[in-house]
Amino acid sequence: MNTNDLIASLGADMTPVRPGLLTNGVMLGLAGGTALTAVLFAVLWGVRSDPAAIYGNMPLLAKTLLPLALGAIALPWMLAQARPAGQSRTRHAIWALPAVLALLVAATLLTTPGPSWSMALQGKSIMTCLVSIPVLSAPILAALLVALRRGAPEHPMRCGMVAGLTAAGFAAAIYSLYCIENSPLFYGTWYTLAILGVAGVGAIAGRFALKW
């Protein structure tokens, strides 16, 4: 087919474009996925028996707020990744998260006696944490990937990875309401590991699902 003919065909096929088609789709996917995760969480996990303990306890509050911030920062980064030549000016803010986490860990190491560190690190729920965060991430990640197929990521793998970070951030924030572990040593290690695992799954899924 001759290129000029193709241009004529494309012109004949043209319809007006709804602005925000991609963003709206992604936000809808995020809302739907998160709602499903919330239902799953309410049915199978549930909020810890002493939710009031979370307020006023800085390290405990950070266990919820850090992953929430991760989701909030990764979301616009993901949307930028889904558009050709898309730029996210706020994505560098993501580096503040490991920095804050490092500060919390350092403060814990300075204020608690050495022999208690290993117990704090091991906690009582490593496996629960490592399983729950990916499971709770799954509905959000799946919905995001479906919505992102409308996009055109230059780097499908990277876009999928950031989708994984977004999903895992929100899922971990929800899971933290169940989790009874209080030490930054625990969540700094195991939450991070679980979140990075979901990011890895997102990268692999993105490589295949987000090709265009």
């Binding site: 241009i7 012109g11 050709p84 030549a85």
Partner: protein, 187 residues
Amino acid sequence: MRDAKWADLLRQANNGHRDAYIAFLKQVAPVLRGVIQARSGGRHEDCEDILQNVLIAIHEKRHTWRENEPVSAWLYAIARYKTIDALRKSGRSRTTAFDGEEAQVADDNVIDPTAARDLDVLLTRLDDTSAAIVRQIKLQGLTAEEVGAQLNMTPGAVRVALHRAMTRLSAAVAEDDPETANQKAPT
């Protein structure tokens, strides 16, 4: 400024102005052709194939351009992605028998019966709509308008679907061709 002019055309196009859209595509095509040639260093006909894929991608993804962002960066990103994609695919399966024949099948309405039989087998690889479009236009000689009326698609959509189907068929033949694999192996 070229970017401002293109942005203006694409903005109008996205608001539904067909003439602006066609003018936009006609203006960007030669520039993209240059970008693709520089990137791929490939043969002329390969570049034209890639350019057509880029134009289709622009068409399908035109909602991903945001009005406050530069159009050229957006266009070049699409051209880059599709060129790399095409080079990766052709690296897997260099010149194949179908490379030459594709042009024939695509342009001629006279079909060699053996080619038609092979095409019939190949068509099972496509989804039903694409297969129907290829069969009716390439084998039965119907026009895009006639096929579109039957399938409830615009003629433009039929032509784009036809182009995509031919590209997929060409890729399917390239993957199947064991000779190509054997030729590649020693190197």
